[in-house]
């Protein structure tokens, strides 16, 4: 199976039912995408598959085959994507474990909807859980990254 991860061509020969998350983490050593629920319920594992924010923990390799996957490690060469910058400026993170998934979700939202409303933010970001409770800062950081102040 061929797949492109962060611009690099890869091939995979393991269990075709293996979720992309475990391929990224265990086979490629890309541990930025996190394991939180294994059921598409918490969003810690979100990566971009052909530009679409996706739960890698429930995406079998058969589905990921032939796609372009971008993980948090590949979002920007040096951590300066506007979403990453806003996250740092507002000290969004507490424990930080969910934030890779949050950032990938937010980056996909802004790519699709450059000036999201609160309702847009609710709809996209409610797919991700933060147990520390950083939601107010996530919302503010998305608005900042969108150039709406905050």
């Amino acid at each position: 199976m061929d797949i492109t991860v962060n611009g690099q061509a890869r091939s995979f020969e393991g269990d075709p039912e293996m979720p992309l998350l475990w391929y990224l983490r265990d086979e490629l050593g890309l541990t930025g995408a996190k394991f939180g629920c294994g059921a598409g319920l918490c969003g810690a594992c979100v990566v971009h598959i052909d530009g679409v924010a996706s739960f890698s923990c429930v995406t079998p390799m058969t589905v990921a085959e032939g796609t372009q996957v971008v993980t948090i490690e590949g979002l920007s060469p040096d951590g300066t994507h506007p979403v990453q910058a806003a996250w740092q400026q507002l000290n969004v993170a507490q424990c930080g474990y969910c934030q890779a998934g949050q950032i990938m979700q937010a980056a996909a939202l802004l790519a699709e909807t450059p000036a999201p409303t609160d309702a847009d933010i609710d709809a996209a970001m409610s797919q991700n859980i933060c147990r520390c409770g950083t939601y107010p800062r996530i919302r503010a950081a998305i608005k900042r990254a969108a150039g709406q102040g905050a």
Partner: protein, 761 residues
Amino acid sequence: MAALENVSRRAVLLGLGAGALVLSLGLPSLAQEPEEPLKFGADAMPHGWRDDPRLFVSIAPDGTVTVTIHRSEMGQGVRTSIAMAVADELEADWSRVRVAQAPGDEPTFGNQDTDGSRSLRHFFGPMRRAGAAARQMLREAAAAEWGVPVDDVVAENHVLSHAASGKQAGYGDMAARAAEGEIPAREALVLKSPDRFRYIGRTDVGLIDNPGIVTGTAIYGMDAKAEGMLFAVVARPPVVGGRAVSHDAEAALKVPGVQRVVMIDPPPQPSAFQPLGGVAVIATNTWAAMRGRDALNIQWEDGPHGAYDSEAFKAELEQAARSTDGVVVRNQGDALAALQQAQRKVEAEYYIPHLAQAPMEPPAALAIIRDGRCEIWACVQAPQVTRVRVAEKLGLPPEAVTVNVTLLGGGFGRKSKPDFAIEAALLSREMDGAPVKVVWTRDDDLHHGFYHTVSVERLEAALDDSGRPVAWLHRTAAPTIGSIFAPDPMQKLPFELGMGLTNMPLDIPNVRAENPKAQAHTRIGWYRSVSNIPHAFAIQSFIAELAHEAGRDHRDYLLDVIGPARKIDPTELGDVWNYGEDPARYPVDTGRLRRVIETATEAAGWGREMPARRGLGLAAHYSFVSYVAVVAEVEVGEDGSVRIPAAHIAIDCGPHVNPDRIRSQMEGAVIMGSGQALMSQITFARGRAQQNNFDTYPVPRMDTAPREIHVHLVGGGDYGQPLGGVGEPGLPPVTPAIINAIFAATGQRIRRLPVGNQLSS
């Protein structure tokens, strides 16, 4: 970058090397001796505190300062805040400050139990001293090098200078010489005056782990790696005390990638921090291990707790809370007589279910055993406990076990228990010492937790003609955390009772608190703010009920019942624990409690007209020697759904080290508390936890969490005052504030958590 570096592997000049760290293990304990005066804070913890800056500060030849952090980072910002304290007193340039994480080694580093909201409370002073001592040693080295009096050498912002001669040097230039110097005595250190602080109290110091977090390179326990690493998941008995009687190892071994199937013996009960036992599957990747586990077809024997049922147990606790044979844990005046004679009496019972900490990172640990040594990488809140327990299990001396602490993807008390690290060590041993990483799934986390206890709190009050309480009876029935350590203790421990029950500071002449018996049928553990959750929920709900009965405004009534500003010795309230703090330095100060209530209510516009089905609710609570009040605004839909458009939270936690992290902890507390109020609970049937994942254990999300959270920091200017806790005290008043707001909005009083669909009838 935020890569976790093992301090013992760093090349250091000022600072001890790896060999010295090992040697220091032989030092005698500095813990309390019987003849000594009572100690508190860092000095009173196991192994006490050593004033030796070389343990915590190292300076490389290029001047890079590395601060060793001995407390676990789990979102409270401790790696940043401790570094701020050290760097400030050291007069270090923040851009040249790094952190390294200490391994579990309490004799060297002092207490490492990252719990109890005490990292800064206990170590702000000691860490300032470490920075000040290192600066003093640098100045002395420069003075000796230059042949000038030390008093004429200034250390400022990473530069040493001597004005008269015009000599200057960087910290890196003097570090080697400084490391050879004498360590200044604690009493001889001169700390900076707060008006000269560079970082302490500033709001704009970024998190030291930010770069790693936003680029996905920060390393958590789940991310630990080693060459040739194997991956394991464990099928654990679904009922505590149960065991696997049969399993199909062959079926699991047929899954490609599965290497071994290993039985882990169940521990004797009560099992403290030991793994629950079960059947482990070890594979070349996590997915194969999980698939192998699915194929095991295990037959379980459930043991004595196989009938544990939450509905039946609730009835049992209610019966206990209505009985009169509980242990009396506080008795002031004669509450029973006053209740008997009362014309106006109010009584209510509150139910608070089990909760799971459910940190976003489920437990995970990597272990390697080689050459008679075990090395662990794990997301643990108590690495020193992990070290000792792993050593015991493997039959090694503690010095042969190294516990490296990764970042923790949330802890909330779950990761104080090192069962998962012990599992990793046992499985590595089974694989001849090969690196084995144990991964817990979310189902594992919710099914095999150390849960927050389940409580029935019964309150009775007698009111005088004005509606003010003259008698107060509180019975708390809840399994104790002590039940994981001792067989059926049945009674709550002093520290549990001291979390808002015995030390309740209301100005009521007759007060009685009782603790009837309750048996544990699952593992009970610490959960952020612990027993303050049920106590604060019950007391703060009940006061609102009394205010309603008295026909009075809730805020005015609460302030009235708290009474005038006064400092109460907690021992007079029957609380001998006082969060381990000196009762003289940390009295219960009702003036501070009043002030946070006044601040939060004024900010929230208390008393303003509210639209239909909207209401404001108030609660306040003293815990972890800090004072917090919350005003929640709720809107209850016609369908019974609850929105929380705004909340105000005011905290007085004494002096502020890192105000932005105080704010973030309060924001998080409001959101976590809203989950406890509205949606989260663990229930048991046939001895088994019924919730599997975030579908059945819902927690707040962006669209259900409180929207506008306003944090008000009260007090804090005087750095001569003792620090209060921050990580936990925000949580207890949130839930009752929301429940009181629901009453204000609807007239419906919720006494059973969570609200769930109780408003939709």
